[in-house]
Subunit: 133 residues, 2 copies
Amino acid sequence: MQPAERRTNVSEAVLAAMRQTNALFDSEVVGKKNIEALDRVYTANARILPPGAPMVEGRPAIKAFWKQAIAAMGATSAKLATVNAESAGEGVVEIGRADILAGGQTVTVKYVVHWKQEDGAWKWDLDIWNLNE
Amino acid sequence: MQPAERRTNVSEAVLAAMRQTNALFDSEVVGKKNIEALDRVYTANARILPPGAPMVEGRPAIKAFWKQAIAAMGATSAKLATVNAESAGEGVVEIGRADILAGGQTVTVKYVVHWKQEDGAWKWDLDIWNLNE
């Protein structure tokens, strides 16, 4: 997936806030296994649609999912990069790419996140991903 | 995935137009292998993020993808149902469920579609999916 044709109409300030949230997921959640930091990553009513599992609704259930998934994968970092970001009303629809380091191997994931503002921060309200292979 | 907590704030007229597009995909594209009907399903600059393949951009490439994928699966129908639809600016962000009949078996897919209006019709501008198992 090439980050070629960006159709970004999102301000640099919002993109920077998004990068901050993504960095939290990488360093705090995946890096330090600080699952409670997901409070600052997902909205309270967020939903995730993981491959290989049914939809998971609400932050407590999402925390339980990631706690288990990060341990099962042995993930130590997750570098997220925006491929395309588009304003959509009060939110942003993002296409992204994640490089997850787990057990010495890098797994590349593509995803769509519907971002919303909550408590002044930009967070993931809807998150779905899959693998290229 | 239970269609329980719907947070729909989309008008019944738009939901009906969405059902019409979804029905086209089922009856024309998957049912009759009329790949050209994808003109009425996807926007011209749509992107799809299929599991097991890189992102596909633009309607011609998307047509080639589905022609191959429908044949490879032996799919004969694809029943799409909206689980949640939310207005997002001029578009709609939908969580949905697809039951795809292929070779006597039903494969259940969950998806997120970012809908936009094009030429007076509601179409898929961004489409990502994965399987529960």
